[in-house]
Symmetry: C2
Subunit: 316 residues, 2 copies
């Protein structure tokens, strides 16, 4: 079951009434600094503050009414939880979110704010899945995976589709990679709607599983986990790995220092708030800037949900 | 010599090729939180990161060529210095900026980055003025005051003009007040281009001179100076005081805590970087929210030039 061009076109039509058409920002000073033309697709301004609403909305809208009325369910402590919670609210159904009991209050409150029912579990993958199974058994709600799902991928693909339609002549698009939903969608939209666009990904050294999986063709774990890019901790899965292997040119890893430097440039020059995961692709381009001189580069700014109290750890 | 409607219309035509048309941002969550409709005019996305380029550009473009070729001069450690430096660069002339020798490196470098010649002086008003006089004597450059100048006021007025033309039915516009150039221009544009818009201003308690001058009709000093809103430290002068007394409904003062709370909301909900001075008007509305329930409120976000290392002092 592949994600076809028509799937993405239809996903876009389906979700347009529910999402923001986010702006594409440019910065003359950044372009002059590095000798290329950057186009930042600002999903930090998207509803829920991240691109995840695109996939969440598409998957939800594809459910038959009889299924939808039983509700939506997922386990996540991040932006996907908010996406499913908001999708349920917009479609007048229930959201059942399983969250680890050590989730930050700010994230719990955001999900609660959309009226979702939260079930807390121990902070292990096993506990998450077991609790999720119980919730689904009890409610009959539809489980919506955060990335390994063609409906989600088609939804996330609409972000790059908008960018490609707005900016002519892109040579490159780069996205962050966690589970690979956004990257898969980006690569497919580049193939279907672009004209010879090379797609790259940025990944933290401290969560470097995708680069390994990309090379070996198997789902690999990261050698170690230690990064402020908390949206990129998950590994790829079968559907995203296949799409990425077939359609992505390369994956670059970046250090924590490189992430912070890129984030600082974005804050200082573009005056926008982005989460660390969003600075990873830009950091990756800057690290390999000689390869990209003179190019027209689309950069997916995936989200802007940060705890401002973390600033003191980053900007010193 | 008043600032007429036609002066603002012509200023706008004059500067349009050199400035950004900045976007007006809205936030559903902020509107729901407070029960009114906010329209944030985002001059943090303006060239040099602040509205000051509007006035600086207008004043510079009004100079005869013979005068312009001798250069532009001002004393400032803030956004006005960058505005004059960029205006000079864009018009192929020299900028001579007098800066206190304790100015932060980031500001000195920004001005240098536009190719301006910097003359350092001791950090007193007297030393600034004396040094400025010497520079002007030596160069013949035109001194451009940061706010007490009709050309500057007409330029700053174009910001509210754009907001009024874009958003129908505004009841209120609020701007920050330092020297009063932006506030004067805002009030005049509301009168000339708006339909019964009340103009307010926000001022820090720790630099509360304008509210006193507004009441007494004389240029007053602040009882004390202690605020993170470093763009609002100057007092009004004769031209701005007169315009503000005649055209502004009220000035509200806000505490440092209220400024930080407002800034936090802007960062968290709107995902934009603003300088503390820019959060002052929003803080003022929130402090008097009962007076503004149900209203359509334009808020001038004056700029986004912050030292990220200050975040650790604000967001804790």
């Amino acid at each position: 079951m592949a994600v076809l061009k028509q799937d993405i076109i239809e996903a876009h039509k389906r979700i347009i009434p529910y999402i923001h058409r986010t702006p594409v920002f440019t910065s003359k000073s950044i372009n002059e600094m590095f000798g290329c033309s950057f186009y930042f697709k600002c999903e930090n301004f998207q509803k829920i503050g991240a691109f995840k609403i695109r996939g969440g909305m598409n998957a939800s809208l594809l459910l038959p009414a009889s299924k939808l009325q039983k509700g939506l369910a997922t386990h996540s402590s991040g932006n996907h939880a908010q996406a499913i919670a908001l999708a349920a609210k917009l479609l007048n159904t229930r959201a059942y979110i399983v969250m680890p009991n050590n989730s930050p209050n700010v994230k719990v409150n955001a999900v609660k704010g959309y009226g979702a029912e939260i079930t807390f579990c121990n902070p292990t993958l096993r506990a998450r899945e077991d609790t999720m199974d119980e919730v689904i058994k009890r409610t009959g709600a539809e489980f919506i995976h955060p990335f390994n799902d063609e409906r989600i991928i088609a939804g996330q693909a609409t972000c790059a589709k908008e960018l490609i339609e707005e900016i002519n002549g892109l040579d490159v698009i780069i996205a962050p990679v966690g589970g690979g939903g956004l990257l898969s969608g980006t690569a497919l939209s580049a193939k279907y709607f672009g004209n010879d666009i090379n797609v790259f990904a940025g990944e933290p050294v401290g969560a470097a599983d995708a680069i390994l999986s990309f090379k070996t063709g198997k789902i690999e774990s990261a050698p170690y986990i230690n990064t402020i890019a908390d949206g990129l901790l998950t590994t790829l899965a079968d559907i995203t790995l296949k799409i990425i292997r077939e359609n992505v040119t390369d994956i670059f890893t970046v250090s924590e220092e490189e992430i912070i430097d890129a984030m600082r440039l974005i804050y200082e020059r573009m005056k926008i708030v982005v989460e660390p995961s969003s600075a990873v692709p830009f950091a990756a381009i800057l690290k390999h800037i000689n390869q990209f001189k003179g190019k027209h580069i689309g950069v997916i700014i995936s989200g802007g949900n940060v705890d401002l109290n973390s600033f003191k750890n980053w900007f010193v």
